[in-house]
């Protein structure tokens, strides 16, 4: 089935995650092969997703780990884990 650009945009996220069914995926690919605009949108969306997963984007502040373990140490010295309960986690 020939898809419009709008139809392709609506499927870009699932296309990237590879969760479209085979027929729809083939239709999207056929459209992408000749549509410069949609393939640019696909590439740029994919780039953003790659960026977000990169450790450098949300990097740790200086000495973050040291402060975390120091605070943890204080608690570990004085407290045991609580007995098991039915909780939200």
């Amino acid at each position: 089935m020939a898809l419009s650009c709008r139809h392709v945009w609506d499927r870009i996220s699932e296309y990237i995650d590879d969760t479209l069914d085979a027929q729809v995926r083939a239709d999207v690919e056929r459209h992408l092969a000749h549509c410069e605009i949609c393939s640019a949108i696909l590439d740029s969306t994919r780039n953003i997703i790659i960026f977000m997963a990169d450790d450098r984007v949300f990097e740790l502040p200086l000495d973050f780990s040291k402060r975390l373990h120091a605070r943890l140490d204080d608690v570990l010295q004085h407290e045991y884990p609580e007995p098991r309960e039915i909780g939200p986690y």
Binding site: W9, D10, I12, S13, E14, D17, T19, E36, I37, A40, I41, D43, S44, T45, N47, I48, I49, I50, F51, M52, A53, D54, D55, R56, V57, F58, E59, L60, P61, L62, D63, F64, S65, K66, R67, L68, H69, R71, L72, D73, V75, L76, E79, Y80, P81, E82, P83, R84, E85, I86, G87, P88, Y89
Partner: protein, 218 residues
């Protein structure tokens, strides 16, 4: 001083053994248990609460809560997922307390009918990962995530920052898989529309070769 190098995840079976021995009284081992996940939960916190010192507080509170509640970890989820769930709740609690959240009353149907037009800029095809060495590029991405409405920020954080599966994300947020997909698509399109024009302006390609300069002897 700086942060230690990232630590690889511990094998699930050793992780279970570690948890058992901490609960049995070997409390110091909790440091080892959480080390592999510090970065991951910090990223979650930072994407959710919007500033670094607050994110650090969220992580510390979440880690302490994980220690105190360790005996309640049932082991049917991954330990990392459990930690992220606690971090998510801590961040949400903090946002609620400060009344910073916009409560959205969107239902699944109204979300599906939304109409989003992505930014179509054909000259932003390739922004190399090297661009992330630049602080202003990282700041733009962080800011774009932080400006998403909370519902979308959570989805994108779990799926695209933490790279959890759609099913894990659905379980953590207590929503259906199809709603995760709808919201994820919407969130990514919002980011695409916002970031593409900005990154295009900031991540300039290499300067063009100065042909006329080189040929000036003509």
């Amino acid at each position: 001083m700086t942060n230690p190098a990232p630590v690889d995840a511990i094998e699930p079976s050793s992780e279970r053994a570690l948890i058992t021995s901490i609960i049995a009284g070997d409390r110091d081992k909790f440091h080892l248990l959480i080390r592999p996940y510090e970065r991951q939960i910090y990223r979650t916190a930072l994407a959710l609460v919007k500033n670094e010192s607050e994110a650090e507080d969220v992580v510390q509170d979440a880690v302490l809560k994980a220690y105190r509640k360790l005996a309640s970890f049932r082991g049917d989820a991954r330990f990392s997922t459990w930690l992220i769930a606690i971090t998510l709740n801590e961040a949400r609690g903090r946002l609620r307390k400060e009344n910073r959240t916009t409560f959205d009353s969107l239902d699944e149907r109204s979300e599906e009918s939304g109409d989003y037009t992505p930014a179509a800029l054909t000259d932003w095809r390739e922004v190399p990962l090297a661009a992330l060495e630049r602080r202003e590029i990282r700041a733009l991405i962080q800011q774009a995530v932080s400006e998403l409405p909370e519902t979308y920020r959570e989805i994108v954080t779990l799926r695209d920052v933490e790279e959890l599966s759609v099913n894990e994300t659905a379980t953590l947020l207590g929503i259906s898989v199809s709603l995760v997909k709808v919201r994820l698509h919407r969130a990514r399109m919002m980011l695409q529309r916002k970031l593409v024009p900005q990154l295009r302006l900031t991540a300039k390609p290499e300067p063009k070769r100065r042909i006329f300069g080189r040929l000036s002897w003509l």
